[in-house]
Every structure is written in C-alpha cells, then in structure tokens.
Amino acid sequence: MKNIIEINGLNKSFGEIKAVSDLSFCVKEGELFAFLGENGAGKSTTINIICGSLKKDGGTVTIDGLNLDTSLEEIKGKLGIVFQGSVLDKSLTVYDNLESRAALYGICGAEFKNLLAELSELLEFSDLLKRTVGKLSGGQRRRIDIARALLNNPKILILDEPTTGLDPQTRRLLWSVVDKLRREKNMTVFLTTHYMEEAAEADYVVILDGGKISAKGSPLELKNTYSGDFITIYNTDEKAVKSLSENYERVHDGFRIAVADTAEATSLICKNPELFLDYEITKGKMDDVFLAVTGKKIGGDDK
C-alpha cells in the first residue's frame, strides 16, 4: 500500500505556544488512521494544516503525491471533512445546503441530483431533504455533515471527533458507512476521536501529547508495547489468587491479574493449573495504552 499522506517535520506555533512540534508520520491508502490526544494536543492544528485552512511554519506535507505548498487547490478536491461541529447553514434546507456545497466542487444540475440520490440512500436521509438543518436532531444533522463531506467523492475522509454526542444508532450507521466506503472505494479515513474503542478499530494509531508524537503503531503493537496482558480467573476464591503473589483486582464474578505479556501469562497458568480452570487472557485496552504513554486519562466522556 502506498502512503497517501506523508508528513515530515511539521511545525506550527501560535505566538509562544508550540501547537505542533516536529511531527512526522505517514498514512497508508485505504487504512483507518486514528489520531489520539487530549484537547490542545495538536490534532485539530494538524488537520487544519492538511486541509489548507492553516499555514504551517515548517515541514512538508504530501497528499496523494502532491505537495501542499504547490498543489493546495488540487489537494482540496481530494479531501472530505466532517468537522467537530456542524458547519452547514441552519436556516436553509438540507437540499439547499448540499446543493450550494456541491457547487464548490463544480457539481451541479443532473450530476448533483444523481449524487444526492446516491448519498441520501447511503446515509438514509431521503425524507429529510426539505427539512431545515437547524430543526434536525443531532444524529440527523451528523448524517448530513457526512453527506456534505462525501460530495466530492474524496480519496481521504477526515473525521474530526465525528461521533461525540451521537446516539448509538447514528454511531453504528456512521461506522457502517465508513466501512462500506473503505471496502468499496478504498477510501482512506483519518480519524480523531476521544473514544478508545473507535481508536482500537483503527489500522494505525498516533498518540499526540503537547504537539509531539508520544507513540505510534497498530493498536496491537501499542498494546503489546505499552500495556501488559490480563488474566481473568472465574469461580475461585481470593485466598487462592492471593497465593500467586501477583497484582490483582476484583472484577465482576472473578479476579483480574496483570501480567507483563502473554508468555508470562502462559507460564503462570502452567505453574498453577489447579487454579486456572475457568479463565481468559485479554490484551490491555487503548485506555491503558493512552494512560501509559501520556500519563493522562483522555476526556471524561468515554463511551
């Protein structure tokens, strides 16, 4: 797979504050890429630079083989962006909003109507076309935001915390649409999220802290590197668990023992087979990774 986004030595400061410092990473074509970080970590700054709405201080940004400095207009045509908050006109109808935004890409007339039919079927909003955007529910509005981002059939879909505050049904619809687009159109998805479960589904994750990369890799690599394994034992008593002399915590219906890795877990089980009659081994969660990497718990609104 070729790199569709290549960022090298990216720098951006606002006065004395370094928003992004010497940032370098790549995103492969067709992958789901997750950007994790607290508010102010530099996620939105990076996205704004990629979109061309913010000028960088230094470094190079290459999108689909095009240099941001020389081919910005062409790059803009390859991006679709779902902003954190809706940026559509609240007093206009869904149809009027999408019609005016499609014209920004030179899409109008019959071409627009065909595209609208396709998107309204994909995102299930055919019945909302004549409704005023300001009167839609949060979930309905989010679907229209996504439709707006897909108007130009982008090669890269940027989702800036797209599911925050959404109901489970809309979340499911959003992710099923994203999966379909990736499967059928090999669309690259660049995601920033506060939800660790969403980041855990990504192909590659970059954790930002204070404008710098703290860790990067696939969720599995990150879990293996920054978080140990856990053995959860069921149907046993605390005295027996205590006899193992390992760190443990009480969980529902059992006890969870933290171990360094799967090898240590296997060794522990082999040494105490009488104790491990009903158990499971699990990897650490992305929350554990984030905590280990940054020393912070992300947000307060985890799913």
Binding site: F83, G85, V87, S100, G106
Partner: protein
C-alpha cells in the same frame, strides 16, 4: 461560474430567511423618513420662509417640494450605505458559524467567495433601497411633486451607484470582523456617523471651512450631492419659472450642497459621478485583492 451562481443564491436565500436581518435593514430607511417628516420637515420649512423674508411670493407646494427633495435625498444617501452594512452581515456570520472554514477547505477560489458576498449584499441592498426610493417618491408626490420622468430614472441610477459604493465599503470593513458584537458595533457607528460626514443630516455648507475641506475628500459626500441634485432639480427650475433670480437659486443650491466645492473650486455633476464611480471600482478592486492575499496567506 456555477460556484459563484450557487453561492450567490445561497447568500441571498440566507439573507431573506433571516427575518431579523431583513427587517432591520428594511426598517432603517422607513424610520429615517418618519423621523425626518415628523421632526425636521417643519424646521426646514420655517428656515426656508425665514431666508426669503417675504421678498418673493412662493407657493406652499414649492416649499414643501424643496424641503421634501432635501429630506428624501438625505434618507436615500444614508440608507444606501447603512442598509449595505446591515445586509453584509453574512460574511461575518459565516466566520462565526464555521461555514467560512468549510468554504476554505474546498477548492473554490477566494475571489469567487468575495464576489458572491459582494453581489448578494448588492442584490439585497438594492431591493430594500428600491423599496425605500418608492416610499420616498410617494412622500414627495404627497407634499409637492416637481420631478420629471428623467429625474426619477436618474434617481434610481444614483441609488444603484450609491449602493455599489456602500456595498464595497461595507465589504472591506466587514472583511476584518469575525463576531456578531463587532459587526453590531460597526453598524451602530456607521449609522450614527455616516449621515453627518456625507452631508445628509446637516448640509456641509453649514460646517466650518476646515471641516468642509476634510469632508470634500470623502466620496460619500458627492453621492449625497448627486442624489440631491436629482431630487431638487425640478424645484430649482420651478423657482426660476416663478421669478427667483438665478443668484438666489444658486445660493439655495450652495446652502443645500447641490453645489459642492473642492478647495474653492466648484465640482461639476459629471465629475461627481466620476469620483463616485472611480471610488466604487477602487474599493471593489481592494476588496478582491484583500481576499486573494488572505487566500494565499492561509
């Protein structure tokens, strides 16, 4: 081209969907007309009578036509600019709502965005100012009509020219604003100050020489005079017909700013049109250049 057309449609729709924005813009000239007719009409009429001091017999209709012509020229001169400022809020609102960010991330050219804001404001301001012109003409018809058909056509052309000026000026100033509070503040300042510096609320001839010279550099002054020449031309012709000496008519023209002087030299009507037209072209050029530069800087 389709982007400009569609953005224009969007901007105009948003203006008329926003009832507060629409009615605020529409009500400005109406309020001015009511205030003028209620409080200033009698003052102007009395002043006119006093200046003649019974030397010449003048009909009430002619005096009312003269005062009315002065009033409506003032109202229209102020409205064309202040309504443009009210109508041109969308540019700022788009920054506040994030729509501007959305446009910025699309391949649409900054100049196309600038043109769409300009022409949408122009269209909505023209609609409102044409309505205001109609109301003003009805007022004149009720107090004393001395305008010819050509005067009426010229009046509408003058309104278009002044709206072009107001829209360009508001586009440049609003370009730097990003919040609703800022635009309200600018709107208030323009509404209260513009009428004075363009000679609408008080004739420039009544100001001190120094101030007159400063104001003669402002193109809005010539806009007011252009409209006033149009609304009062018939009145002055009638004055000559009923026996007013030419010198007296010229004095009256001086006193109501139909004649303007730049450092003592009388500025002819064609030159006034040139000044205002040239200013409009210059302001539009500056506005587009500002958008292009910002687009490159972003």
């Amino acid at each position: 081209m389709s982007a400009v057309k569609m953005l224009l449609k969007r901007n105009i729709k948003l203006f008329f969907k926003d009832k507060a924005m629409f009615f605020t813009s529409l009500i400005t000239p109406v309020i001015l007309l009511v205030l003028y007719a209620t409080f200033l009409s009698d003052v102007y009429t009395d002043a006119f009578h006093a200046s003649l001091a019974g030397a010449i017999e003048v009909s009430e209709s002619l005096i009312s036509g003269c005062v009315g012509g002065q009033l409506i020229s003032s109202i229209l001169a102020v409205s064309c600019v202040t309504v443009a400022f009210c109508s041109n809020m969308l540019m700022v609102q788009d920054k506040a709502t994030g729509a501007a960010k959305d446009f910025k991330t699309s391949p649409v050219k900054p100049s196309a965005l600038a043109v769409s804001y300009y022409f949408a404001t122009l269209a909505s301001t023209l609609i409102i100012c044409f309505v205001a012109t109609g109301i003003c003409l009805l007022y004149i018809a009720s107090v004393g009509w001395y305008m010819s058909a050509l005067d009426v056509i010229l009046l509408f052309i003058d309104v278009i020219l002044l709206v072009l000026f107001g829209t360009a000026l508001s586009s440049i100033i609003n370009f730097f604003l990003s919040t609703q509070g800022q635009i309200s503040a600018v709107g208030t300042i323009v509404s209260s100050a513009y009428g004075f510096i363009c000679g609408a609320y008080m004739p420039i001839s009544q100001f001190g020489t120094g101030l007159q010279r400063v104001i003669s550099f402002l193109p809005g002054t010539y806009g007011t005079s252009i409209i006033r020449n149009c609304t009062m031309r018939g009145v002055f012709e009638e004055m000559k017909n009923v026996g007013f000496p030419s010198e007296v008519v010229e004095k009256i023209r001086d006193s109501v700013d139909c004649n303007l002087y730049f450092f003592g030299n009388k500025v002819g009507l064609p030159v006034m049109y040139l000044i205002l037209g040239g200013t409009v072209a210059l302001l539009i050029g500056i506005y587009i250049a500002m958008n292009v530069v910002r687009g490159k800087k972003a």
